[in-house]
Subunit: 258 residues, 3 copies
C-alpha cells in the first residue's frame, strides 16, 4: 500500500504543466524516501529529473518501492480538476491493482473529488546523473529567465549564453536583427539574499542552446521565484527549480555544437 498526502495539490499541477509537453508518459518511482521521476524527451535532448522527498508530504506511507507508470497527458487533465487550495492524496496498492487514485479535498471539506487513472507499463531506464564541478553557477529570478527566453524567441532560435564574473549574456541572431541581454549580479544591498542574482564563476563559459527547450523549462517558473543554471563546456546545462520543503525539478539540456 502506497499513500501520500500533499497539502497543496497545486504543486503537482504546476509540475505537470512544466513537463507534460516534453514527455508523454513516465514512471513515478515511489520509495520510502520519496517520489522521483526521470525521463528524456522524445528527441533525447532533454532529461527531466524530479525529486520529491517524503518529509515534504503531510503524510507519507510506502512499505516497499513501486513504480507508477502514468500518461502525463491524462494526469495533467485530472489535475486540472484540483482547486488551488485543495489537498491531494495519492493512493496505490502494490502489484494488486492496475490503477492509481488521486483524491482532492477542498479546505472546508465541502467538495471531495476522487479520480482513477490506469497505470501503463513503461520501461524503467536508469539515467546516471553525475554531479559536476561546474564552471559557472548562476542563480537568478525565474521570471527574468522566462522573460529573456520569451523575448529572444521572437528574434531567433538559438541562444548563446556567455557567463563570467561580471555577468551573463544571452545572445540571439535572426532575420530581424541580432541582440544581447546582459544580466549583472545584484549589487543593491536592499535586495534580500534569496532574491539576489548571484554568479559563481570559476572560468568563462560560452554555450549554445535551442531556445525552444529552454523556453519550455521556464514553464516551471510558478514553482519557484529563483532558478539556477549550472554550466560547463561540453556538458549539459542544468536548469533547476527548488520546490520549497519538498525537493526540486531539474532539466538537463545538451549544448548545440556549431
Amino acid at each position: 500500500m502506497f499513500e501520500a498526502r500533499l497539502l497543496q495539490a497545486s504543486l503537482l499541477k504546476k509540475i505537470l504543466e512544466s513537463i507534460k509537453d516534453l514527455v508523454e508518459s513516465a514512471n513515478f518511482d515511489c520509495s520510502p524516501e520519496g517520489i522521483s521521476l526521470q525521463a528524456m524527451d522524445g528527441t533525447h535532448v532533454t532529461l527531466i529529473n524530479l525529486v520529491l522527498r517524503n518529509e515534504g508530504f503531510d503524510t507519507y506511507n510506502c512499505d516497499r518501492s513501486l513504480s507508477l507508470g502514468l500518461s502525463l497527458v491524462s494526469l495533467s487533465k485530472i489535475l486540472k480538476c484540483a482547486g488551488n487550495d485543495d489537498t491531494l492524496t495519492i493512493k496505490a496498492r502494490d502489484n494488486e491493482s492496475d490503477t492509481v487514485t488521486f483524491v482532492f479535498e477542498s479546505p472546508k471539506n465541502d467538495r471531495v473529488s476522487d479520480f482513477e487513472i490506469k497505470l501503463i507499463d513503461i520501461k524503467n531506464e536508469q539515467y546516471s546523473i553525475r554531479k559536476s564541478d561546474y564552471s559557472a553557477v548562476i542563480k537568478m529570478p525565474s521570471a527574468e529567465l522566462q522573460r529573456i527566453c520569451r523575448d529572444l524567441s521572437i528574434i531567433g532560435e538559438i541562444v548563446t549564453i556567455s557567463a563570467n564574473k561580471e555577468g551573463v549574456k544571452f545572445s540571439v541572431s535572426g532575420d530581424s536583427g541580432s541582440g544581447n541581454i546582459t544580466i549583472k549580479p545584484t549589487s543593491d544591498s536592499d535586495v534580500p539574499a534569496e532574491q539576489a542574482t548571484v554568479i559563481e564563476s570559476k572560468e568563462p563559459v560560452v554555450l549554445n542552446f535551442a531556445l525552444k527547450f529552454l523556453s519550455n523549462f521556464t514553464k516551471a517558473t510558478p514553482l519557484s521565484p529563483m532558478v539556477t543554471l549550472s554550466m560547463s563546456e561540453g556538458i549539459p546545462v542544468v536548469v533547476e527549480y527548488k520546490i520549497e520543503d519538498l525537493g526540486f525539478l531539474g532539466f538537463f539540456l545538451a549544448p548545440k555544437i556549431e
Copy 2:
C-alpha cells in the same frame, strides 16, 4: 406601443450570452405581465424558459400582447454595444413596424446609443411546462456547478449525477481515467443562508446528462450566485438561475437513457 426600461442593460446582455449558442432565433412574448421566451435548441434536447416580470422593470408599458421575433445572434451583437452601467429601453410599435429599437444610455447621459433590429417571423410553439414534485432539489453556488462542468468535460462527455440527502455526486469516465466530484450540504453555520448548498431529497435519484449542454447552461452563471437543479427519474432536469427582482432563466435537459 410597447416600451420597457431596464436599469441594467447588462442583465439582458448576460441572458443573451447564456442562450445564443443554443437557439438561433426566438420570440420575445411581451404581455402586460412581462416578457417571456420559450425555445428549444435545434436538436430538441434542451428547452429554454425565460421569465422577466413587469415589476422588475424601471418602467413598463404594454397595452396589448405582442411577439417580437428576433435573431439572437443579431441581438447579441447589438447588446455588445451596451456599456456595463448603461440603461436599456426596448421600444416596439404593435403591428405597425417591422423593427424593434434598443436604446442604451450611459449613467451620466453623455452617450446615447440607439439600435434598430429587423423583426423576423417565427412560428410560436407552445411548450407545456408542468410543475413536478421533484425527487431532489439542489441549491448550490452557480460558480461551483460551472467549475464542475468545465473540469469534468476535460475527462468525458457524459456526467452521471447522483443525489441523496448526504450529497450530490457528479461522475464521469473517459480515456484518461474516471472520477467523481462530491458536493456536500453546507454545515458551516458561518455561511449565509443565501450562499449555502442545500439538498432537499425525497428519494435517491441517478441521472445521466450530456456535459456539453450542462456546460452551456452554466454560461448563465453571471446572472446569479446560486443555481437550482431539480431532478426526478425519467424527466428532464431543470437548471434554474434567479434574476434578482426580475424573474428567472431556466433550462430543461432530457436525461440520457443508457
Copy 3:
C-alpha cells in the same frame, strides 16, 4: 553620429504597436529638431504622421540629418524585448554603418539589452500636410473612441460621423440592424478640463469612413487619454494622439464617397 535617449522605451513600443499593421517599413527622419516619420499604408488611404521633438528626449544628439529606413515588423519584435520601465537609447553612425542600435536599460541597471537592426533603403516620399481650418474639431476620451469603433465594427463596415454643436453621432448599418452612438460635450463641471469632451463646430459635417482603418488608429489609445478628430467635408479626417512632452501621432484617413 546620432544618439537619442528616451526615459520610457515603452513609448516607442506603443507607437510601433499603433502603426506596424498599417505600414511594413518606413524612414525615421532624424534631424537636429527631432525624429519624424511620414508613411502611407499600402492601399494609400491612410497617412501616418509621427513627430517626436528633441526636447522630449532625455539626451538628443544629431549633428546632421539622416534617414533610418527600418522594417517596422522587425523593430516591433525588438521593442517587445524592452521592459515597461526600461530606458531606450537609439544609436546610429551617419552613412558609415548599415545598422542602427537600440539599447534598453532596466531602472536598476541590472539588465542591459542591445539590439542591432539592419537599415533598409526606402524611397523618401514627401507628403504635404496642409493645416486646414476644420469645420469640426472634437476632443474626446481615446478609450471612448476605441470602444465605439470596436462596438460598431461588430455591426457594419462603414461608419458615418456627423458632428454639430450638440454632439457627434457615429452611425453604422449592417445585416443585424443599424445603430447610432451619440457623444455629447461634457457638461458636468466635476470633470477636469483635460478629460472633458469638447466639440468646436463651425458648421455641421457628415463624413463616411472605413471602420477597419479607424479601429486600427485606436491602437494608439495607450499613448494618450484623449484623442482629437478634425473634420471638414471632402478632405481627410485627422485622428491625433498627443504624446506627452514629446510630440504627437496623427493619422489621416480619406472619407468614403458614396
